[in-house]
Symmetry: C4
C-alpha cells in the first residue's frame, strides 16, 4: 500500500472539481453561513484519544448487532436526496457500494430512483427514511411503498418540517417515489408562510404515536437534540433515535451534536438504539461517537463526495476509508470490540 | 420559493458594491478597529438553540404589545442618521418599508428629511430618537417638533455625548430637523476638547428627570450597559431602556451586549420595557435576545444595507428576512408566542 | 474636527512605509515569532469597559503627581534606543514633542544624541534609563553623566542582560553617551556565550542595593514580572517599579503584562510607584492599566511610529491621540480623576 | 554576533525550498490534516515563563547525567528514518553534528546507513531505536546488530505498529540495517489489513518483558501517553520512557504531549527516566518540558530541517540554537541548573 490513507477531504476536493457550482453549493449548504458545519466538526475534534500500545487484541472486530441484523461495522449511510444529481449511478450506486463494503444505507424519501429498484440491488436489508407527507393518508401510502419494497426499518425525520428548495432540479432528477408534489393551501393576506403554510403539514407527537402503530418494523426518529424528546420517543415505543441537527442544514446556531450527545445517551440509557450524525468526518470521529455511547453513526456529505467523484466506486472507497480509520483507531487504543470502545475515556 | 432565505450579509455585499467607499466606511465604522462589532456579533453566536420538533404550534404569532400599541413583530428599526446619504428614498423610504412589513421605526434626530414628512407617510406610530441639544431650551424645541409631528414615544440616546463627524456630508444631505449647528465655546489654551468642549453639552441624570417631566409620551433611555443605570432610569419614571453599545461605534472595548443582557434583564425585572440592539444579524439573534428577556430588539446597519441596495424595497426585504427567520426559529424550537420564547433555555 | 481620531495603527502603517525594511524589522522585532507582542496586546483587550453615561463630570482632569512633579497625564515615553535611526529629529525631537504635549520621557542609555542636549531641549524634567555597564565603576560614570545633565529620576532596566545587536547600525548612529563598547572576555572552548559571556556582566540584587546608595534621585527598576521581585525592590528602598516584559523583545513565552499586573499591584500595595508597559496601544488600554492599579504607563513602539512618520510632530500627535482617547474613555465611563479610575471595575 | 538567534522555523523554510515536494510532504506529514502537529506545538506555548532578573547565577550549566553518562545538555535527537533522503550526509552527518555540539542521538531502525558506521563516527555513545520486527527471532537479530555496534541504550518504539509507506523511496535509500522486508501473510477475503495484517506483527507487553531480559543495556519504551502504561513499563524493569505521540504522525486527535506530561511525571515519580518529544520547537519549550518534570527532550523534524538545509552543519546549528535558547531562558529566569528548572512554576 502506497501513500497515506485517503482522507475524506480529498473526496470533497474531487467532488467540488467535478460538480456544477450550484450542485456543490446545494450539497454543502448550511443553515447559516457555514458556521454550523464547522461547529459540528469542531465538536468531535474537541475530544481527544489516548493511544494504548502493546495491548494484545483479542479477535478484533468492528461488528455489531442491530435489530437482529449483524452489521460488519457501525457506519450507516444517512439519507441524502436526489443522488442522481451528483452522479448517474444515483442511489443504486450507493446500494452497490454498500454491498462491496458491507455497509448500511437509509434510502431517502426524496430518492431519485425507485425504492424497489434500490432495495432490489442491495445484498443486505436497507432502511427507509420517511418524510411526513402532510397528512396520515399520504404518509401511509409512502410508508407501504417502502415496506412493500422490503425495507427493514423506518426512520422518520422530524427536524426539517420546512423543506426549502435550494436549487432548481435539472430535468430528469425528481423524487420518483412520492405521489405528487405536496399541495399547500394558498395563504391569506397577513398569513405566514412558516406558521400557516409549512408547519400545518408538519408531524406532531400524536402522528408519531399513530405511525408506531402502522409500522411492523423498527421505527426510529431522526433529528432529536433534547433529552425530553428522546424520552418521549422511548415512551411511545419507538426502537431508536438518531441524534442529529441535520448536518447543520436546518436551524442555524444549534450546538454541536458531540456537545449534547452524552446527555442524550444518559437519557436513553439503553432503552432504545441511539445513532448519531452531523459532522462525522473520520474513523476517529466514529470511534469517539461510540465511546460517548452511540450504537452506530451516520455519514452524509462524505459519501456523496465519493459518489460525485467516482460513482459507486467512490462511495465504496469512502466507506473503506472510514472502516480502516476505525480499525486503526481501535488497534492504536488497544480495544478489540465496539462494546469495549464504550469503556474508553476520551480525553 | 426558490433558494435559501437571503441572509442579511447578502445585503451588506450589495450595499458595499453600491455605496461610495467613504459612505460605506462611515456606515460600518467602529470605535476601534472592527473588533467591537465582531465582539457584539460573536456575543449572540455564543448562545445556541436546541431544536424541538414535533410540537404542535398553537395559533403561532410573533405579535406583541408595546405601550398599548400592537406590534406584528418585535423588530424595531434603530435610529440611523442621514439616510438620504445611502439612498434617495431616505427616512421616508424606511417608513414606507415599515408599512409594508408592519414594522416599527425610531426617527433619528439627525434625519435628513423633515420628521413631519416621515411621520406623515407612516401607517403606524413612529418613535423619535432625541439627541440632547446642548441645553434644555434647545432640546425642548426639538422635542416639541417631534411631538407635534405625532411621534408616539421619545428615545433619548445618552451613550454618544461626543458626536464626531466621520465624513463630510455631501451637498443636500443634512440634519434638517435641527435648528442650527451646535455652537461650542472656543477652548482656552490647555483646555480639553473632550472635557471642556463636548462634555459640557452632554445630558446628565438631572436632565433626564427634567425631560421625563416635559414628555407626555413614553420616554426610553438608549445606550445603557450598567445595572445601576437601568435602576436609576426606572426610579426616574422612564418607561423603557434600550441596552446598547451603539453598535460599537462609540467606545471601543465594551462587552458584547449579549454578555451583559441577562444582568440588565434581572435589574429591570419587568418594571419597564427593555429593548436591545448592537450586533443582531438574524432572526435567530432576535430569538435569543427575547429568550434572555428582552421585550423587543432594534437593528441598525442591516436595514441600511437594504436601503442602500434597493431603497424602500430593500428595507422591506430585510425586515421580511428577519421575520421569516424568527418564525422559522420559533417553529423549529416549538414555541408559539413571544412570551413562550422567554421560557426557553438557551444552550 | 473631521474624521475619527487617528488610531495609533495608522502611524504604524506610515512608519512601515517610510522606514528601510531592516529598520522596521528591528523596531517591531519580537523575542519569538511575533506571538509575544500579540499576547501583550490581547492581554489588554481581554478586559472590557462598561460605559456610564449621564454622569456629571467634576472638573475632569488627567493630571497626577509623581515624585513631587505634576504630570498633565500619566503617559510616559519608554526608553527606545538609537532614535536617529528612525528620524533625523532623534531623541531631541521626542523631547520637543513632550514639550508640546506636556509629556514625560525616559532617555535611553543607548540614546543616539548627548543626554545633556536632550535634557537641554526639554521644558520638563526627564528621566534616565540606565543599562548596567558591566561593572560598578563603568555604571557610575554613566549614572553621573545623566545626573549631571539634570535628569530627575533613574530607571534601571534589568530584564535584558543580553543585548543582541539586531541590525548593523548605519554610520552616524551610535550610543554616544557610552564610554566605549563593552569588552567581553574571550570565551574558552566549551564556555557559553550566555553563561560565561553576557551574564557575567549582568547586574544582581547586590548591585541594585549599591546603586540605591549612589543615587540621590528616585530609582525605579524596570522589567519586573514576579511579585517577589517587586517586594525585594521595595525592601531595598527603591521608589518605583516598571512592570514590563520589554515589549516582548527579550524572552519569548512570557505572560501578557495585563495578566500579571493585578498581582503586582497587590504586592506593591502602594509602597512605591508602579508603572507598566508592553502592548499598550490606545487610551482605553491606558485607562485599563490605571483601573488595575498602575500609577502611570509607558509606551514604546507607538511613539517611534510617530517619530518615523513625521519626526517630532508625529510623536506629539501620538501622545495627543492617547490623551484624547484617555479623556474620551473617562468621559464615557463617567470618571473625572485618575484616582477615580482605580475604583472602576473592569468587566 | 549579528542578528537574532536563528529561530528553528528559518531552517524549516530553507528545507522546504531545498527538498523535492514529496520528500518535504513526507517529512511534515501528520496523521490528520496538520491539526495534530499544531496541537502539539500549541500545547507547549500555552505555558508561560516569568522572567526573574537580577539573580546571580551559580556556575550555570545545562549538564545532566543519564544512565551514568554525562550529557552537556538535555537535547536528544529523536530517531528519524532514511536520513539520506534529506541530505547525502545522512545519519553519519547527524552523528558528526552531535560530536560538534555534544549532542545525543537515537539511531533509527530505519537508518539508511549501517549502524556500525554511524556509531563509528560518533565521539559519544549513541542509543538505538528498535522497531519490533514481527517476531522475537527477527527482533533479536536487529537488537544484537545494534548492541554489537556499541550502542549504549535501546529505545523500543511502540506507538506505530502500522508502518505505512508514505512515499516511494528513491533508488539507493533503504533501511540497510534490516534483514529483508517484513513479509506479511496474505489476507483472506473479509480479513482486515489492520487487524489481521499489521497488528499480528505488533509487539505486546509480553514482548517487552522478553526484551527486557535480552537487553543488558538500559531499555526505554517510546510512545507512551497513558499513566497506566508508564507504571507497567516501570513494573517490567525498564529504565525509561519517552512520552510521545510520534510527533503527530500516527494517530490523529491525540492530546498535546504537554497536556498529559504532568500526569505522566507524577505516575513515574522518579522511578525511571522520563524523556518527552512531539512539538518541541525552541529552547523555551525544552525549559518548559524540564519544568514539568522531564529529564530530557527529543527533537525530530527540526534537526532534519537543519540536515536538509546544510547537512551536518545544519544539524549542528539547530542543536546550537536550542542550546543557546535554553541557556538564555535559564539566565533570564534566574536558574543555574537543570535540577533547579524543575522547581520553577510555569504560569
Amino acid at each position: 500500500m502506497k501513500g497515506t490513507l485517503p482522507l475524506l477531504s480529498h473526496y470533497a476536493q474531487q467532488a467540488q472539481a467535478k460538480l456544477p457550482a450550484n450542485v456543490w453549493h446545494y450539497l454543502q449548504s448550511d443553515a447559516g453561513q457555514g458556521a454550523q458545519q464547522q461547529c459540528n466538526e469542531a465538536g468531535w475534534q474537541t475530544h481527544k484519544l489516548i493511544p494504548r500500545p502493546l495491548q494484545a487484541l483479542q479477535q478484533p472486530s468492528t461488528g455489531c448487532d442491530m435489530f437482529g441484523e449483524h452489521w460488519a461495522h457501525p457506519i450507516m449511510l444517512a439519507p441524502v436526496a436526489y443522488q442522481t444529481l451528483f452522479h448517474v449511478d444515483g442511489e443504486i450506486g450507493t446500494a452497490v457500494a454498500c454491498n462491496a463494503q458491507q455497509g448500511q444505507m437509509m434510502v431517502s424519501s426524496l430518492a431519485s430512483q425507485p425504492v424497489a429498484d434500490i432495495v432490489g440491488q442491495a445484498q443486505q436489508p436497507l432502511w427507509f427514511q420517511l418524510y411526513w407527507q402532510g397528512d396520515r393518508a399520504r404518509t401511509e401510502v409512502l410508508l407501504h411503498k417502502a415496506l412493500n419494497a422490503g425495507v427493514s426499518a423506518i426512520v422518520l425525520t422530524v427536524d426539517a418540517p420546512v423543506k426549502q428548495a435550494l436549487m432548481d432540479l435539472p430535468k430528469g432528477v425528481s423524487a420518483v417515489n412520492l405521489e405528487k408534489p405536496l399541495a399547500m393551501q394558498a395563504l391569506q393576506p397577513g398569513q405566514s408562510q412558516v406558521f400557516d403554510g409549512w408547519m400545518t403539514q408538519a408531524p406532531t407527537w400524536e402522528d408519531v404515536a399513530w405511525l408506531r402503530q402502522q409500522c411492523k418494523v423498527p421505527l426510529l426518529i431522526k433529528g432529536l437534540m433534547h433529552v425530553d424528546d428522546a424520552k418521549r420517543t422511548i415512551a411511545l415505543g419507538c426502537e431508536g433515535i438518531v441524534v442529529s441537527n441535520h448536518g447543520g442544514r436546518v436551524l442555524d446556531s444549534t450546538p454541536a451534536v458531540a456537545a449534547i450527545l452524552p446527555d442524550m445517551v444518559a437519557a436513553v440509557d439503553g432503552q432504545c438504539k441511539l445513532l448519531v450524525d452531523s459532522g462525522i468526518r473520520s474513523g476517529q470521529d466514529v470511534f469517539k461517537a461510540l465511546a460517548m455511547g452511540a450504537d452506530a453513526v451516520c455519514i452524509g456529505r462524505p459519501y456523496i463526495w465519493g459518489l460525485a467523484s467516482e460513482g459507486a466506486m467512490g462511495v465504496a472507497k469512502v466507506i473503506r476509508t472510514l472502516r480502516d480509520e476505525l480499525e486503526m483507531t481501535m488497534a492504536l487504543t488497544g480495544v478489540s470490540r465496539l462494546s469495549d470502545i464504550r469503556q474508553v475515556d476520551l480525553y
